[in-house]
């Protein structure tokens, strides 16, 4: 579903590359988390997969990017829209301003895709329920709180049913419960085979629970790629500017304090930690 070959990208007038000979293949239906320190290239990768690098941000891009069968660098943004969806961190800037109720705002993307009105209404109702915005359907999008706007931004893209959804820290304004709900839905979408999801995140605790696969970026390079538990309990996390979850830290500390090492893998999630310590 996603194929990157030797991607190197420089922002305009930049001497160091933001992405450095990156190669990657993601099959359909996978929820792939992208983690890394600030400046490691997570956001740039997200924009590259959605075509905004280089169509919007210019700069020099070399290599081949194929997303859902589309050669992203060669196609226009209009051709990419609808098949590839992007949700970024600032929810206010994702309100189009072209519609005056939450309901119509969600419809906007589908209208541009030519989806029939009955189908639109059905999808909007479904998505309003998921986002907990049903009571706010007639409100102006500008009258929502930051967290509500963020949920609106996410579902406005989800409702277009893109084959690939890219999310760059989409839960920054949400409280922990809200974040968990978003990750759960993304996981369900991927598992149902409906979408392939790339999620750039800092919240490693939830990455450990919901992601199928974790990619680690450092200085624009892909330095690790594997299942969450393996990556997040590895020894290199600190070198990459990351910190393991407390569950992993407690397990390590316990081993250092004299707990017997049964050779089991260290836990990264609550569930695994409970298993580990029973």
């Amino acid at each position: 579903m996603i194929r990157l070959r030797d991607i190197t990208y420089h922002y305009p007038r930049a001497t160091t590359p933001a992405l450095d000979k990156l190669s990657l293949e993601v099959p359909a239906g996978q929820l792939c988390a992208v983690i890394g320190a600030n400046g490691s290239g997570k956001s740039t990768l997200c924009y590259a997969l959605a075509g905004f690098v280089p169509h919007f941000y210019r700069g020099q891009l070399s290599g081949h990017i194929e997303v859902a069968g589309i050669d992203v660098a060669q196609s226009s943004l209009a051709e990419i829209a609808g098949t590839v969806g992007l949700v970024f961190s600032n929810p206010f800037n994702q309100i189009t301003g072209a519609r005056f109720t939450v309901h119509d705002e969600i419809a906007f993307g589908m209208e541009n895709m030519g989806v029939p009105p009955d189908e639109m209404r059905a999808r909007i109702d479904e998505v309003l329920r998921f986002a907990g915005l049903t009571d706010l359907a007639d409100r102006s999008p500008f009258a929502l709180s930051g967290g509500q706007q963020q949920r609106l931004a996410i579902v406005s893209v989800l409702v277009m049913r893109p084959k690939v959804i890219i999310l760059d820290e989409p839960t920054s304004q949400l409280d922990p419960v809200g974040s968990k709900e978003v990750f759960a839905v993304l996981r369900d979408l991927a598992a149902a085979g409906e979408s392939t999801i790339i999620l750039a995140e800092h919240k490693l605790e939830w990455v450990a629970v919901f992601a199928d696969r974790v990619l680690v970026l450092q200085d624009g390079r892909l330095v690790a790629d594997g299942p969450p538990r393996e990556i997040l309990t590895g020894d290199n996390l600190h070198d990459w500017g990351l910190e393991p979850t407390r569950y992993t830290q407690v397990a390590r500390s316990a081993l250092n304090a004299g707990r017997r090492d049964n050779g089991e893998a260290l836990p990264a999630t609550l569930e695994a930690a409970v298993e580990y310590f029973r």
Binding site: F56, T96, G97, F100, M113
Partner: protein, 265 residues
């Protein structure tokens, strides 16, 4: 539907239920009439006999009149003063102490105010009674490119957005010791720290919004659907044709008046 970012006033009225194209045609007629009606008083008559009753029908009479006065009065006052007092070689017709108002100037002012009244009030009538998204759809159906319609639609949103951003920025700078309360000089100086964050922040916002629009397929060329349903009726179609004819008649009359002395002489 009414938000801090739009002029639309929601009401349950016949005027609101009219197809936007009908209202647009009326604005077109008022534009041409306002510019080309002969004489002084036709514009005022049109305002009283056509526009005002429509505003009443739309149940927006009070906010409408308030907006009309707020926009037209400054023009009226300055026209009366500038043209009335300073018309070269004019016939004094009204003396108020040292001020002498000339007849020709007052006539000019009256004609000018009438023009502005008719044109501006018709625009206000349109925006107060028409949902912006329905207006945008009508324009799209008539061939106006999507991005132009979008710009027309969202330009009004810029002002409240700027204000809100400016307030946030001001709060942040006050919290860093910038004094904003006090004499005029202090308050004026307090505006300088607003400029860079306001501009740079707005540029970032505009960029990100453009990206969001592309993600939502706004730039797509194919056929688009809409949840909006616009109702048109036969009598509205008839009215629109009558308005178009009336507009052409005004233009024809104007051309005739212009040509007449040339034909004769």
């Amino acid at each position: 539907m009414s938000t801090p970012f739009s002029l639309f006033i929601p009401r349950d009225s016949g005027m609101h239920r009219l197809h936007p194209l009908t209202k647009l045609t009326l604005v077109g007629f008022c534009l041409v009439g306002g510019l080309f009606f002969p004489g002084i008083w036709l514009t005022y008559i049109a305002f009283l006999v056509i526009i005002l009753p429509l505003a009443a029908w739309g149940r927006i009479l009070r906010p409408f009149l308030s907006a009309v006065i707020k926009t037209t009065l400054p023009f009226a006052v300055s026209l009366v003063l500038v043209q009335g007092l300073f018309w070269p070689g004019g016939t004094p017709v009204l003396e108020l102490g040292p001020l002498s108002f000339k007849e020709e100037g007052l006539i000019f002012a009256a004609r000018g105010t009438g023009r502005i009244l008719m044109i501006v009030s018709s625009f206000l009538l349109l925006t107060f009674t028409t949902r912006a998204d329905e207006l945008m759809l009508t324009l799209s159906q008539k061939g106006v490119p999507d991005n132009i319609a979008y710009i027309m639609l969202t330009t009004l949103q810029i002002v409240p957005r700027f204000q809100s951003k400016a307030n946030t920025i001001l709060d942040a700078q006050r919290s860093r010791g910038l004094e904003t309360e006090g004499n005029l000089l202090t308050r004026a100086r307090a505006l300088l720290p607003l400029i860079q964050p306001l501009l740079l922040g707005s540029i970032v916002d505009i960029e990100e919004r453009a990206i969001a629009l592309e993600v939502r397929a706004f730039g797509r060329r194919g056929s688009k659907t809409t949840l909006l349903v616009l109702h048109d009726t036969t009598w509205q179609r008839v009215m629109r044709w009558l308005l178009v004819l009336a507009t052409l008649a005004v233009l024809a009359w104007r051309i005739y008046l212009w040509l007449e002395p040339r034909i004769q002489g």
